[in-house]
Amino acid sequence: MKTIHSIAAAFLALGLVSCGGDKKTDSVPTASTETTATAESSGTNAYDPKRGIGKHENVDVSTFDPAMAAEGRKLAEVKCTSCHKPTEEKLVGPGWKGVTQRQTPEWIMNFITNPDPMIDVDPELQKQLELCLVRMPNQGLNDTEARQILEYMREIDGAK
């Protein structure tokens, strides 16, 4: 970790990265996903940095659901906390504290369920990549799980 000093990252990136020359690029495209990703990333004009790339939009966060947050915490302990702390402290990826104030709910849910295509085009994520040299791994979250983790993040940020 000696090459990484800054914990000032103001946004979310959860995992580790491979440099371009690495054996692995983290995403191993099938013929079909490759086409999709290219199609989506080619239209940089169309990229909405508030929403990201993915199926999630208009996520309703008007009320806080503690049960959902509790589930989210359990999930995070299996899939996320190897790399992220619930504080501001950076581990492999940035700490989660404050993330829901910096990013929209739909951006977060899209990113945690669809990290690779977003890392390829999102300007903030690109900056994060240069800093961490770490791509956030796709941890195979389904929609419900992603929503539960978002609720847990909201709880960290003080949602009640």
Partner: protein, 665 residues
């Protein structure tokens, strides 16, 4: 083989240039666009998966067709240092047998599971020749998930061949042997009275694919070579080629070639199964291992079974017949319609083709020539559809294109010969430039061959590639068979000796498992999340519950291990993405390294021999920080009281790292 020297460079270009030098009738063997037709551009997939037996390396090798690119080596009967198969605690039981742990074998034939006679992409079956076993591989994961040992057998050669709905897989013994309940401690002179040729019928569960040795048939003590099930109208029958009907036991190359004809044995497996159901057969006490790999616990278990039901020749008198077949038949291949059975007499100068309808009629008419050890022998002409005259020298195997044509490999004259099944006329012949053994058309032994390509695999290879010492690369050649004439497209090296192969279209395997869901991991030592990682001492056994994720282990430092301890590293890969395995290696480990797939748990047993500091690390480059994925294990002398502690140094200042105490039970 007079043109052999010309082909020494083995390149496609060389083939193009000298194509005029080939034996008569082969002018069109290579055409100008051959390279283009086997070229698979970056990012594009091959059209077919080609599963090729690894012969004496005990593995199965997966190639893409038409490129001939090696995609993967699947360990089946041999330990594999690449991923710890047969070395890790979870996979060691896969290689248990009644003779103990046997981590190698001679892997000959393969069969893809079928539904209605067509390949269905579910499982691949493989045989072990030496210590008789049949394995099942799951094509969702390309993993060996089951191995069943075959009792009362030796040289499990006519195996594993499948019925058209994957009801049974057979394993016919090559060596006649005394059965397991008779002592094998007998004079070899008693061969004719004591030795039997046992055929095993392994039932396959329709849903799970799980194998069960349903029954065996104690046939005469001759050698069973190859087999194929019938299909459609002949679907209830199995056909086995037999040699050494002389029952010789010395200098077989002379003594087993005395009779003008050996046999194809026809067995009605459906009737045999009914006989067993009706209570026929004797229970034979024996011992054989049944090994299963559970994909939710990522762990194999081995169970020893003690008994098998054996039907006698007498039980089978209306369900088992011999058909005379010229000299030492090898291949025994049934065409896609199920009507024609091709026997390839490797010492015969012709190919006999039998008719299923005629065989049934001969049985009904009692058109028999006599008996062989109590088995009725059908008159040769009564079952014969006809003979392919002068097909070449040394016919071995036949596959079909689904358009009424058969393709036979000719070992002695080194060629593939195409002939018409109905009129038995030779249509085309192409040289193989080495002594060809097996050949394969995708789906070519099923009711629905795909019929576009044919691959010929060598038996004896010479002069195809850059020499590699006395042992040369084994070889396969790809032909385009879509037109009237076969066209040679490509040479590619294989692991040897490639005894047989199966292939299916790549797009048939759509439901591949890309990673194991961590939620579904039922391994008893799984660590689901770093918070659960721990170190537990139970006497001299220490269990390390360890996780790996890009780019660290948890824990990454352990102290308090002592010489004399058995340390079990249970490593769970927490990744949930495609193709992010992590490796695990520790200095001085005497069994293996591990390669752990996303969501999987694997266990390495480690017994340090001397005190010291032992680094461990990830062997599979997993991210830009892969090289940082490491840790240490401190080993103290036996009897010392170094406290058992572990840590994950997740602060920049090592001194502040959280240190946890291990549990002691």
């Amino acid at each position: 083989m007079k043109s052999l020297k010309f082909f020494g460079l083995g390149s496609v270009m060389a083939l193009l240039l000298v194509s005029g030098c080939k034996p008569k009738g082969t002018e069109t063997a290579v055409t100008g666009d051959a390279a283009e037709r086997v070229y698979v551009a970056p990012g594009k997939y091959d059209e077919y998966y080609n599963f090729v037996s690894g012969g004496f390396n005990g593995q199965v090798n997966v190639y893409g067709l038409p490129s001939g690119r090696l995609l993967k080596v699947l360990p089946v009967f041999s330990q594999n240092p690449e991923n710890g198969y047969g070395y890790s605690e979870e996979t060691k039981p896969m290689l248990e047998t009644s003779h103990g742990f046997i981590p190698w074998d001679d892997q000959h034939h393969l069969s893809l599971s079928q539904t209605n006679g067509e390949v269905d992409g579910r499982w691949l079956f493989a045989n072990a020749n030496n210590t008789p076993r049949v394995a099942r591989l799951d094509l969702k994961t390309f993993k060996t998930v089951e191995i069943l040992e075959i009792p009362n057998s030796a040289g499990n050669h006519s195996s594993p061949f499948l019925t058209e709905n994957t009801e049974y897989v057979v394993a016919g013994t090559r060596f006649a042997v005394p059965t397991d309940d008779q002592s094998g401690d007998v004079p070899i002179e008693s061969f004719k009275s004591n030795f039997k040729g046992v055929l095993s019928f392994i039932g396959i569960d329709k849903q799970s694919g799980e194998m069960d040795l349903s029954f065996q048939i104690e046939a005469p003590g001759i050698n069973f070579d190859l087999s194929h099930a019938g299909k459609k109208k002949s679907g209830d029958w199995f056909f086995f080629s037999c040699y050494n009907s002389e029952k010789a036991n010395t200098l077989l190359e002379v003594n087993a070639s005395q009779n003008d004809k050996d046999f194809i044995m026809a067995v009605n497996w459906k009737k045999a199964a009914e006989l067993v159901k009706a209570g026929k057969g004797r229970k034979v006490t024996t011992e054989y291992a049944h090994n299963k790999f559970d994909e939710s616990t990522h762990t194999a278990t081995s169970t020893m079974k003690k008994e098998v039901i054996v039907l006698s020749v007498e039980d089978m008198k209306d369900a088992m017949f011999m058909i005379p077949c010229p000299k030492s038949p090898h291949g025994c291949d049934v065409d896609p319609t199920g009507e024609y059975i091709v026997g390839s007499g490797k010492l015969a100068a012709l190919i006999p083709v039998f008719s299923f309808d005629k065989m049934i009629k001969a049985i009904a008419d009692k058109n028999f020539a006599g008996e062989f050890d109590g088995v009725k022998v059908i008159k040769y002409e009564a079952a014969l559809h006809g003979e392919v005259q002068k097909p070449g020298l040394g016919p071995l195997h036949t596959e079909f294109d689904g358009k009424g044509n058969a393709y036979t490999s000719m070992f002695v004259s080194s060629e593939v010969v195409k002939w018409n099944i109905k009129d038995l006329k030779v249509l085309d012949r192409q040289p193989t430039f080495y002594s060809v053994g097996h050949l394969m058309i995708p789906g070519g032994d099923s009711a629905k061959p795909f019929g576009k390509y044919l691959v010929a695999y060598n038996k004896i290879t010479k002069d195809r590639y850059l020499p590699t010492g006395p042992e040369l690369a084994q070889s396969a050649q790809l032909y385009d068979i879509s037109g009237d004439k076969m066209k040679l497209l490509l040479d590619f090296p294989t692991f040897g000796e490639p005894h047989y192969a199966q292939a299916l279209p790549g797009d048939m395997l759509k439901d591949q498992v890309k990673f194991f869901r961590i939620e579904d991991n039922k391994h008893p030592y799984a660590t689901k999340g770093e918070a659960e990682s721990k170190v537990v001492r139970e006497g001299n056994k220490v269990h390390v519950y360890m996780t790996s994720i890009r780019s660290h282990f948890a824990p990454d430092n352990i102290e308090g291990i002592r010489v004399g301890d058995e340390v079990y590293f249970h490593v769970t890969n927490l990744e949930q993405d495609w193709d992010i395995p992590h490796g695990f290696a520790i200095k001085g480990a005497q069994n293996a390294e591990l390669l752990i797939m996303p969501g999987e748990t694997c266990t390495l047993k480690w017994m340090p021999k001397k005190p010291g500091m032992y680094p461990m690390y990830c062997t599979d480059f997993c991210s830009a920080l892969h090289q940082e994925m490491q840790g240490y294990v401190r080993v103290s002398p036996a009897g010392s009281n170094t406290p058992l502690i572990y840590s994950l140094n997740n602060k920049k200042d090592n001194a502040q790292s959280p240190v946890k105490a291990g549990e002691t039970k």
